[in-house]
Structure formats: C-alpha cells, structure tokens
C-alpha cells in the first residue's frame, strides 16, 4: 500500500459514467431511444419497424455515414470541416468502378486504387490547410466542386454497372454464426477493457470509479450486446461490421491515442497546443488523410450495395448528412469537444428518422425539412446547455 498516500486527501471518485460519455451523449442516446419507442408504438410503423430485417437494414444504411463520421469527428474536433466527402465518394467510386468494368481489373486492385486516390486527396487537403493556410471550409469546398467534376469526366458521365462479382461481398452479409461470434468478441473485449482499466487504477492507488458507474457501464454494454444479437439474428451486413470496427478503432484513437489527445488540444486552444510542442500541422494532416481514406471505404460500400456507381448522384449531399450526425452527436463545430459514441448515435438518429419517415410514407420534401429541424433542435439544446453551464 505504498501508493495509498497519493489518493488520501482527494479520494473523490474519478470521472464515472457521465464523465466518460459526457451528459450530452446520454441525452443523444435518450433521443434515439424515444425515437425507437415512438416508431415501435405508432400504429402505422409498429409492425414494420421493430423487425430484425428493418433494423439491420437501417444500420446498413447508416454505415457509410458512421464510417465517414468517424473521420469527420476528428476534423471538426480540431476546428476544421470537410465539405468534400460526398463528391469524393463519387470520385473514389468511379475509380473503383472504371477499373473493374472498363479495365477488367480484379476487385482487389480496384479497392487499392480507390484507397490510393483517397490518400492523395487527404494529403492534398492537409497540405492546403497546414502549408498554404487555406481555411478548411474553402479548401474542401473546392474539392466539393472539383471531385464530382472529375468523377463525371473520368466516367464520361455514364452510370457504371454492374461491379465485378468478387466485389459484391463488401455489400453482403456474414452468416449468423460469425455475426454472433463477432458480437461476443466485441462484448468480451469491452468488458475486459473496463475491468482491467479499473484494476490498474486501483493497483496504482488512484481513486476508483464509483461502483454504480461501473455497473451502469456493464449494463449498457450488455443491453447493446443483446440488441445486436436480436437485430443480426439472420446475419450481419458487412458494412455494419466494417462500421463497427472503424468506430471502435476511431473511439480508441480519440480517447487513448496521442493523436486524439492532440486533436482535443488543438481544437481547444491551438496556440497553447503549439507552445506545448504539439506537432499541430502533422495532426491536422493525419485527420484529413484519415477522413479521405474512410470516405473511400464508404464509397466502396456504397458501390457494392447498389452494384454500381452513378457519378452524378453518388454521395450527393452526403457531407451534410455526415456533419449533421457529428453535430447531433455533440461534437462542437468550434472545436475542442467530441465523442465517438455521440457520432455513432447521431448517425443512428439520422438513419432511424429517415427510415421512420419512409415507413410513414412522408414525402421526401418533408423529410428534408424534418431533418433540418432535428439538427436545429439538437444545436439549440446544446447552446442552451452551454449557456446555463457558463452561468
């Protein structure tokens, strides 16, 4: 007990559940829960909504948003933005599709090529923002315009279809056994990480987390685990699997890696970060690069799911969907505040909303307006919360 002395005077529990998620994330989860409850109870959607097939479909649809959202969360955290992701999806999709369809390349080559182009695009954005000091809004706005033009040019504005057969697995499903195995492994890792982290804290004599917080975390993980088993009882879409892995790694990077911590510092106070010896430019390049690579993955998923690429349409206003999800998730557009779980929940809210409105036969013009209203509502709540905290 040599380290006991360290804790004694301030043995207040370390940040618990609320500290880990931020109350904002709990609120977001609450909104999602209410949405699901409403759709599950509403007479017109009761039957269709709460089926494993429908929910599995919803998650597959939001997978693209989640995957790009993980990168966008980092960018927005540093105080930047990427408006080019939708157009970039079209460009990467066209690269993958023309190689397969026009040049009869194997899927692997097409995938690597799309990711390679994404690497160039990401580095380009990083370069514009850090070396030339062009505001991210402008730098990526130019991409927003240029990449779709390039996509149309490369494809002669044709729709490209069908993709080669060895590409289809990206949009496919993994069998139920494998799905359950994946969920179980994820669940076990989550539990183990939580327990070992807590044991390590105690071994070093640091103030332990409150038992209630630990139990609540464990309970939440168990509920999600159960939900996943129920939703994927007929197998899990590969996009969902990819999105799950990306989110987990993204969350780890955000919370537990140096790059993540530096991103928080840069968004919170770039000058203090610079004076602390943080490689500000390198971190910014990393987040733009990462987002472009994730956008390529999303483009490949989209191409596989629809078995083709229409360069004029693919990823259209996707950038705004992604930013909406990130903002609903509680990431501050002025930088310095972000959670990966929030982005995931934000994307799910977005997906649930469009799914619900489709089930209710709401026409698509109203859908756009509702989505706008939700974004506005989330931001208003947020700024009200900040104002009251400030007082």
């Amino acid at each position: 007990m040599t380290q006991a002395a360290i804790t004694s005077p301030r043995a207040k529990p370390a940040p618990g559940l609320s500290g880990l998620l931020g109350s904002r994330t709990l609120r977001t989860a609450g909104v999602l829960f209410i949405l699901w409850l409403g759709l599950a109870l509403h007479p017109d959607t009761r039957e269709a909504f709460l089926t494993s097939g429908n929910l599995s479909n919803v998650t597959a649809q939001v997978a693209e948003i989640v995957i790009i959202g993980v990168g966008m969360t980092f960018i927005v955290l540093t105080g930047g933005i990427d408006l080019s992701v939708g157009a970039a999806m079209a460009l990467f999709g066209v690269v993958a599709a023309t190689l397969q369809i026009d040049h009869h390349m194997p899927a692997v080559v097409a995938i690597l090529a799309a990711i390679g182009v994404a690497g160039i695009v990401g580095l380009w954005h990083g370069l514009l923002v850090t070396r030339l000091r062009i505001p991210p809004f402008i730098a990526t706005l130019s991409g927003f315009l240029a990449y779709r033009g390039l996509a149309l040019l490369l494809s002669d504005a044709r729709g490209l279809s069908p993709m080669s057969p060895d590409f289809a697995w990206i949009g496919g499903q993994i069998p139920v056994g494998a799905a359950f195995a994946v969920c179980t492994v994820g669940y076990a890792i989550g539990m183990l990480v939580m327990i070992s982290r807590e044991r390590r804290r105690r071994a070093f004599g640091l103030p332990p987390q409150a038992m209630t917080a630990l139990v609540a975390q464990g309970l939440a993980m168990t509920v999600v685990f159960g939900l996943l088993l129920a939703i994927y009882q007929d197998g899990m879409p590969v996009p969902v699997l990819i999105a799950g892995i990306v989110t987990a790694l993204g969350g780890l990077m955000l919370r537990a890696s140096r790059v993540g911590r530096y991103a928080f510092a840069i968004g919170g106070n770039a000058e203090a970060a610079r004076l602390s010896g943080i490689p500000v430019a390198r971190v910014k390049v990393i987040v733009y690069l990462m987002t472009a690579l994730l956008t390529a993955i999303a483009a490949l998923i989209s191409a596989a799911r629809t078995n083709g690429v229409t360069p004029g349409n693919m990823g259209l206003i996707r950038e705004l969907h992604v930013i909406t999800a990130v903002v609903i998730g509680g990431t501050s557009l002025s930088g310095g505040r972000a959670t990966m779980l929030g982005t995931l929940l934000g994307a799910l809210i977005f997906g649930t909303l469009s799914n619900g409105m489709n089930l209710l036969n709401v026409n698509s013009n109203w859908q756009l307006m509702f989505t706008g209203a939700i974004l506005l509502g989330a931001s208003t709540l947020d700024s009200l919360a900040i104002r009251t905290e400030g007082q």
């Binding site: 360290i6 804790t7 301030r10 207040k12 370390a14 940040p15 500290g19 982290r197 390590r200 804290r201 070093f204 640091l206 919370r255 537990a256 890696s257 140096r258 790059v259 993540g260 911590r261 530096y262 928080f264 510092a265 919170g268 106070n269 000058e271 203090a272 970060a273 610079r274 004076l275 602390s276 010896g277 943080i278 490689p279 310095g336 505040r337």
Partner: protein, 551 residues
Amino acid sequence: MTAALELLRIEKSFGGVRALRGASMAVQPGEIMGLCGENGAGKSTLLKVLAGVHSFGSYTGDVIVGGRVRKLFRPVDARQAGIAVVHQELMLVPELSVAQNLLLGREPSRFGLVDEARLESNARADLARFGFAEQIDVTKPVGELGIGLQQILEIVRALSLDAKILVLDEPTAALTGQEANLLLGWLKSLRASGTTCIYVSHRLDEVFEICDRVTVLRDGRTAATLVTSEVTPSRIVAEMVGRNIDLQTRAAPLGARSEPPMLTLQGFHVNRVMNHTEHKADDADERRFVVADVSLSLQPGEIVAVCGAMGSGRTALLSSLFGCARAGFSGQVTLDGKPAQLDSPIAAIRQGLAFVPEDRKGRGLVLGMSVAENLALTSLASREVMGNGARLGLVDDVGEARFAERQIRALRIRGEAGVEVSTLSGGNQQKVVLGKWLARPPKVLLLDEPTRGVDVGAREEIYAILEGLAQRGVAILFASSDLVEVLRLAQRIIVLRHGRSVGELNAVDATENSIVELSTGASSVGAAAHPASNDPIRGRAPSHSSSSLRV
C-alpha cells in the same frame, strides 16, 4: 476658473481587485495634463471610465465636464460630454479611404445612399482645419499612410466630433522619432488654439516636453499633481514608485561561478511582423526590429529578469527564444554550449527550453481540458509518464493520472486532477502551466509575467518553485512589469527600452527607481546636456529647452 474636466474620487473594482481607489484630477481649459503611473497603477482603468467603457454605477465618483456632473453609462455618453479618447491601438479601417474613415458612422447621405462628394469635401474641410490638407490625400486608403499620420488622423477624427477634451493614450508608442516629433509639435499648436488634452505616456521626456502639469497615479489613487517646469523627472519617478519595498526578501546574489553559460545571446535581433500595407520606404531600425541587438548570458541556476515598459520588447525577446518569431530573427544564440535552432516551439523544447507565456488562458492552457490532461500535454510521448504504450502512440490515462497527482502534490495545486482547469484560481492555473514543463526539468525556463493575476500567497509559492528549480541548475529568464517581483526574484536585471538593452543591474544595487529611470528614459532626460546621442534608437533631437529640465 471652472476646470475643463474634473474627476472626483473615482473608484472602480474588478471582483475583489480595487483598480481605482479614489483617483482625482482637474484639467484646466487649454492645458496639456500628463498622466503617469506604473503598470497597474490604474491609468487604463481611468481611461476606460472616461471613454464610457466602464458603465456609471460600476464606477463611483464624479466626472465633471465644464462644471456639469456627467454620468457616463456608454461610450456615446462620453462622446456627448465632449470627451474623446484616442486609444493606443488605432481604430481605423486600413482598407477604407481617409475620407471614409474620418466620417465613419456619420456618412452624409443623399437619396438613402452615401453622398460621396459631400463625404470627401467634409473630410477635406476637417483636414484643412487642422492643417493637414496638403499632407494627407483623403482618397488614399488609410493603410497606405505611415503610422504617424494614421495617429494624427485618429486625433483629427476625434476633434472633428467637437471634442472638448482630448485624451491620448500613449500616442507615440508605435511612432518613430520623426513621426513623434511631428505629432508633439502639432499637439503644441493645438494647445495654442485652446484644445484641452490629457496625455498618457510612459516616456517622461515627452511628458516634460509638452505637458504643463502631470498627475501621477499610484495604486489606484492620485499620488501627486506636479507642475513640470518646477520638478525633475526623478521626482515623478519617485511619486510613481512611492513605496519603500521591504528589502529583506531579496534574491541572493549568485556566487561567482566558473561554469560555462547555459544560454548566450549575441547581437540578437527580432524582426517586426510587417503589415504589407505599411510604408516600405520606412526602414528605421525601430520599425524593423522589435528586439534590437540584445546580448546576454545566463549561468545554470541563475535567475535573470527582463524589465521595460510595455512594447519594449520583453515579450518578443522571450517568445522568439522559444521559436515563435514570426518574422524571423538574427544573431547568435547558444544553448548549453551548442548553437541553438529556434525555428519552432517543438525545436526549442527538444533543446531544453520551456516557456510560460503571459496570457495564461489564451496561450498557456487548454481551458476545456482537465488539470491532468493539461499537465500531461507536453509529456504524452514520454515513456516515463505514459509507459510502453507511448511507443505505439497511446495515451495511458492511468499513467497520466499518476503523473498529474505527482505534480499536484509537488506544486501544491489546489484542484483535483479530473476537474476542468478553467475552474481553478489564477494562481493554481499558473502552477499547472508551470507544472507541464516539470516532468523533466528544462535547461532554460522562460517566463513572461510569471505571476500576473495571481494572489499574494500563490505568488510566494511560485517564487519558491522557481528558486527550487534554479537550485537544481535550471537557468531562468523572466519578464515582468512588477518591480517588487523583479527585485524579489532576480539576481540580475536587464532593462529594455524600444527593443534595446539600455542597462544591466545587479540585484544588490538595483532599486525600483533605478529600473524605472532606465526603462522610461528619465535618466537620459536628466542628463540632457548631450541630447542627441543619449537615445540612439529614437534618434530624436529633443526640441525642448534643457534649462527647465536640468536637475
């Protein structure tokens, strides 16, 4: 005769800090009244009261203009009362023309649009009234004028609003000698035509040149009102400093050491960041360099202070040593015997420098982060703190928390590791900024205003931490405008004026007076017998008669 402006027992507090505790002054019509005081004496607070920035009610006491008590709630009240305050930072829009700037906010209109012709003719009339119609082209963008003419333009704008009392805050701070002479000459002619003026300046030579009387503020009160023709500059300095500080707790002089120096500067110049609209032809030294030709040497374990008035280059010197010179620097810098590479903070840190900036909240801390996260910010790549995960780029939050607890205990930071750093008091925040450099003590620690906004108790604790570091061989170079602090902490004192080192004092011999005299140039005013050579950078031949100033 009714005073043009009278201030009676003005008091103003910020939280618990009483910035003004009954400041009074009376300015007669047609006189130029100097306003002097050390940093923190309450000058800027008093100016803000006059400008209507601090609303009536938040200050107490009377502002009497021409015999009428005026309640200044808002800036517009001050303007209506006839008070025009010209701030140190110019409030001109560089892209707009001279005419547009002069009439900004009161453009003449015609059919609902701006009447350009009338605008220009009004502007010409204003300039002609003050004798600048020839020198200033009203159609030119303001940014193309020199700083001196911009300053004059700002004053013309204030006067054209029918100001009865003109308040100038350090109007020559950014000017070259020639420009300053032009301005001072013009102010004298304004006085001859009856303008009343309050002139705030650190430069006693100027005060003696143009002011009829001087009000000296000290600790928020009026210490004295003196007639310039009857006193010496040293008398003003004595009133500014006022107190006899307790000389018992003073820095122990460093014993003679033969160790090689830790840090040396040879002919160190820091270039001024040039605005592209600024005059290209103007290449006066003073305009080109914020720090000019400074040489110094620091022993391991030595604590050295850099003193000087605001804008003397203190901050620029420290931050460029930490790799923050935006416009570049020249000169030789060696660190621990090797030539130093100072092109970025990262490079500076790698070579063993650490920097505690003046602006704690703006540059020192990430306010939204916790105490622990702020403390660990500089050590995330260190395996000692983060364990083996550091190699993989991981942050070990347990390692981070342990490190934070260690620093919190060592520095006696009153605040928990997990709370947001913004909730801590100023002193504890400052300890966090300091603490993030102490995972591995630096070779040279640079501090800009180490205890600004820190209460007295925490101040002593910070001094103790710094002295402890010095004993372990860290060389410390700090800038401070708090002379009590300088005398308490420093073993040697370097005084800067206009970017140049004008003297080096030993802690044993230094007094507040000697520092203030060096940094304001009061000593050179006193020695006005050889006027042209005693202030090489200003290069200004004093036009005042030396007879009235001779001690």
